[in-house]
Structures are given as C-alpha cells and as structure tokens.
Symmetry: C2
Subunit: 339 residues, 2 copies
DNA sequence: TTTTATTTTGCAATCGATTGCAACCAATTA
DNA sequence: TAATTGGTTGCAATCGATTGCAAAATAAAA
C-alpha cells in the first residue's frame, strides 16, 4: 500500500475529467464552485487519500503559515513553557512551528535565524542568547519582510514587537519584601548586563534599596552568577566576607538560588532566619526544596500565547509595540521570618 | 530598506546576463559550472542579499529536509530533552524541526500527524499519547511514504523504527535494589497499561519479585497513578492499609514519587527507614528533595540524538528496527537504608 | 425566443529552484 | 584543417497548487 507518488489535484482532476483548477477551488473552499462537483471532488480526494502539498501551496501563495522560534535552550523550563504556549495558540490558527536552539551561542543564533529566513517563515520569535551584542541578523529578518517578535530577553537595538515581563517592578517588590522581613544586607546575584532583563532586575534591586534608604554595598553585588554552580561559588564568597549579607536575591535564576541554598545548608547557616533567599523564574523545584524558595513567576505559558496572539493581531501593522506581562512574586519559606 | 519582493535566482541571472540555471548551479555547488562565473554569482547573491527559497527548492526536489515531531507535551522535561537532542543532531545535517504537541489527546495527535503529512516532512518522530488505541493515523504516515520513528511510548501495532529504553530490565533492577535494601512489601504505582512502557515496568516489577521469591500482593498494585496528585492519593490509600507497604516503586514518574514523598512526610513516616521510594525519569528535582529520590535516568538527550541518527542512517531501508537504550538506576537517599 | 445576468468551468501563467538534454565554445588530437 | 573531446552554458520542462481572465453553461429577465 506504500505509494511512491502522492496523489495530486491533477490525479483527482483526471479521474473526474475536470480541470485541476476546479479541484483546487473545491478543496480550498474558495472561488466559485458548484456544490455538486465540490462533493464529487471531496469524495475522490478522500478515496485517493489526497494530502495537499503545503510546499506548493505556500510557494504559490507566498506565505508559509509557519512561525520560527529561536531560543537559547529548548529544554529549559521557561522556554519550553513559552513554546508550549505559542504552539497552542498557533495551532488553533493553523500555523506550524519550526524550532531552533542557539545554545547561548551568538553564531548558532545567526545560523538559526538564517535558516528560518530561508524557510520563508512568516514570523520569527526570538529570545536572544546571552552572548554577543551585534544584532544585524535581527535587522536582516526585518529587511526580508519577516515579522520579528522578541520576548523576555530582548534588545533595544532593533525595533520590533516585544513581549516582556515587568521585571524591574517585580524585582523591586521582591527586594522590598526582603526588607519588610527585616533583612538589611541584601546581596544581588546579577546576570549578563548586556541583556535588558538582567539590567532591569538590578535596577529594581537598586530602587528598592533607595526607597527604603538602605545603602548600596558594592561587595554584595556579584556578576554573572546564573547557574547553580556559579550561584554556589558566589555564595561561598559572600558568606565568607567579614560582614556577610543576611539575604541573597538570586536575580539570575532559581538554579542560582538553589546553589545558594545548598551552600547555606552545608555551612550550617539557617534559612530563612539567618539568610533569606529569593530566586527568579518559579521553576518547579522551588516549591519542594526545604525550605521552599521564594521566587518570581513569569507566567511563561501565558507569555507564549501572548506572543502568538500579538503576531496574529499586529502582524501586518509593522509598528513596534511592547506588551508587558506583570510577573508575580511568590513568597515561600526561604524568606519568611516574620509572622 | 524593507523589500517587498525577495531576490530570486532570476534577479541574479538578469544582473549577470546569464541563465537562471547557471545561477542555480553556482549556488548549489552542483553540476558543472565555471569557477569564475560561480564567483561572480556568489558575489552578486551576497550583494543582493539573496536567500534561497527553500519552499521552491524542496518542492522541486520532492523533499523537505524537515523532521516532524509529535509529543504529548513540549514542556515536560523528558520530552524537551529528547527534542533538544534531536535538534542538535538534525541541525548538523541541515534539517529543521516542526514540533507539535498532542496534549495527551488522541484527536489532537491525529491532527498533528496530518499536519505533518501535509507539510511533506521527510520523517515523523512520535511518542504516542496515553489516550486511544487506534493507530491508523500512524499507518497512514507510512502509506504516505514518510519515515516514521517512534520513541519511548511506542506501540507494537505499527511496524516502524523505534528507540526505546530497556524499561523492563531497569525496573527489575530497581525493585531488586529495593529488595536488597531489605524492603519486603513493595507497592507498585503503574501507568496506563495500553502503553508498552508501562506494561514493561510492571513486568520488571513482577520478575524481580519472582526472582527473589516474594509474593505478588494485589492490593499493593495501584493503577494510573502518574501525576503528583494521583501518586499522593494512591499513597494515602496504601499507607492506610492494615498491612501497608514498606516501599513504593512509582514506576509512572518522578512526579508521582514526589506525591508519595509528600504524603509520607505529612504522615510522619520516615523515608527511607520506614518507607523506601523509587521514582522514574530522573527529573531535576529528584536530586534536591529531602531525602533525595532514587530514580531512573532515561538518557533523554542521548535518546533524541539516537532518534535523529537512526533516521539519517536507516532512513531509506524501510526495515523496522528497534534501538534500545539502557537506562540507569540512580540510587539516592530515599531507598538507602543499608550501608 | 432572445437578451442579459450569473454561476461554473477551463486555460494558462505563476510562485522559485532544479535538472536532463542539447547547444556551444575552446582545446586537444588526428 | 577537420574531427574529437570535455567543460560550460542555456532552454525548457518540472515540482503541485493557485488565480486572473475568458469561455461556456445555466438561469433569469425581457
């Protein structure tokens, strides 16, 4: 039953002794076509197990009904959730997803983007890698007439549609929460400052301190501590200071916060009484560590849906527009030392 | 600088006053072409920012250099890891991925498969949903001349290439390990028995009991406990028995095992001394619960790479073939009560 | 019945790249 | 000088679906 050649509209046309164009009209439900012939076409199409060749169709129509996605890593909770959200919304509209991962490499990112341009996708959704600060490949997307949407990790250097979190605000909330709980020397683990999101998290941290009239202590701010290992390393350094912090805001990720927690546990430092810990992302595990970790939920699936719907609504307008989703601070045991 | 029409080989041909076919040959590096003209073509292509229209190319060549993937959920650790593995291997060969999620719904699965057939992907990789036991849509893939590869959750009803774990063997190992640790009344949380993998896990469990001459106790086998909530519910029931189990093998997932752990902790039952717990999948969190959970690593990224390479190697042969990856039992605190 | 309006159809071009075949040119050989 | 060879090139068909336009068939109006 294996067929070499697939059935085409010509096969159907021949069998019914009508023109291929009529078959096309019958199948695509467009143009004028007699109801009776339409039925006959549909019947034969079914009988011959016809599947429309989307390649040919798209070539002719000059579109692909496909959205390309580039993320640093597919298998990272946040990203796979966003993708899942996009998939759901896109699927409803009959769109498909082509997915690439940049592995945080700027070169691979460029490669991925070019592949997607070649594929003539209708839209490219990207969260840029941490590496590199040349964004001509993104400009190139626009120059090729492809809609570009950035999310989460966005750059200002290219004007596009964007979906982001109100990172600064929630970071400020998180740090304010720590201060409310009586923490006074709050350290910050910060991410690569070439990415907006990490800069904003830092700004939120600084604003909270300022608002509550706490001094900014330089030695309590540690750069690029965004994996578990780096978080742990930073913590060992911080807790070894003559005047160590009494709380750590791991603004980079929950993984980093996990590193903090593990080091504290090894050093016999009690969380939250002696050290408060706040992470970022609401990874699943933050709920089940002991103590559970206070963190920030980014509504990742929601974010994916928003990205897709933004494309479907604003797809053609071409005006840059930014949608901001308010993340939510989730207070858990690791920072609760009052009440 | 936004262009309406993209540059085609005809634009290049016109500019150089040569035939489009020559341009094609120059760009695709095939056929005979003078080195000098090739250089000129390449230069002009670059100058005009030419991007090959993959749609047209694929239409002509009758292939798409695309692999379609259908998984129950993109944002589930195991699956996103497999996808990540596939992506890595596929990208190296210049292949793209189109990804769909079935959401464990049989209908959506059929829809996804049909979309991928329409897209004329070269290969469809699928891990079937738990629902339903009609697999004519898979047969349909084969009938359309598309290579089909099943992984992890596979069905015997369709003969295809398959990549699976040696689930039975490792399940047996896991239960044997529990027995070695002195557990005598070992409960099993089992998954939907229409899926091979869950049947095999059960078989492994039974074989281990038999091998060590332990009786099979019917009331200790609980069906369909594969989420955290269902795992918890099952545990409450099990621990409420007049003669409760002293170990639970949550063969369905680590989430289920987590449910077990939480209930035990609430009920004040000590793990591992009073209750041993073993999960399945090696989710990240199993390492950081307290106690950490003994589980089984499926080598998911590896599995993805294997799937992709299987396609690249066996793609044309058409013979069904099964590759089995040996998973690894990871013994952690939740089952260590000796030594 | 003739004319006009409307609905159905078919023809042929098109989307952009690829490829078998034949034509062409230059270089080599007889 | 003529014939052969081999490397380059162009022509034109092809992949399968879509669509503007015109022809044909049908229905409605005069």
């Amino acid at each position: 039953m294996k067929q070499k050649k697939r059935t085409t509209i010509y096969d159907i046309a021949e069998k019914l002794n009508i023109a291929a164009s009529s078959v096309s009209r019958a199948l695509s439900n467009s143009g004028s076509i007699n109801e009776a012939t339409k039925m006959r076409v549909l019947a034969v199409a079914d009988e011959l197990n016809y599947k429309r060749n989307v390649l040919a169709s798209n070539l002719r129509k000059g579109q692909s009904k496909t959205i390309g996605i580039v993320v640093p890593r597919i298998n990272q909770n946040f990203f796979s959730n966003v993708i899942s959200g996009i998939e759901e919304a896109a699927h409803q509209k009959g769109y498909n997803l082509i997915i690439c991962q940049s592995n945080e490499s700027h070169d691979k990112e460029i490669q991925c983007v070019n592949t997607l341009i070649n594929q003539h996708v209708d839209c490219i959704v990207i969260s840029v890698s941490a590496e590199g600060d040349d964004y001509s490949h993104l400009q190139n997307v626009i120059n090729n007439g492809i809609q570009l949407i950035q999310f989460d990790r966005v750059t200002d250097k290219v004007e596009t549609l964007k979906v982001i979190n109100d990172t600064e605000q929630v970071s400020m909330e998180a740090v304010s929460h720590l201060i409310d709980q009586g923490y006074k020397r709050i350290a910050l683990l910060e991410g690569p400052q070439n990415l907006d999101i990490f800069r904003q998290r830092k700004t939120g941290y600084l604003k909270a301190l300022k608002k509550h009239k706490l001094p900014v202590i330089k030695e309590l701010v540690v750069e690029n501590a965004w994996t578990k290992e780096l978080g742990a390393k930073a913590t060992r350094k911080l807790l070894g200071l003559p005047n160590p912090p009494d709380a750590i805001f791991a603004s980079t990720s929950d993984f980093s916060a996990l590193g903090v927690l593990e080091v504290a546990s090894v050093m016999g430092i009690k969380v939250p009484s002696e050290l408060g810990i706040c992470g970022y992302s609401n990874e699943d595990f933050t709920e089940i560590t002991s103590p559970s970790i206070t963190t920030i939920d980014q509504f990742s699936i929601e974010m994916g849906k928003t990205v897709a719907n933004l494309y479907f609504k604003e797809g053609s307008s071409g005006k840059p527009k930014t949608i901001s989703i308010k993340p939510r601070l989730i207070v858990r045991a690791s920072t609760k030392r009052k009440g």
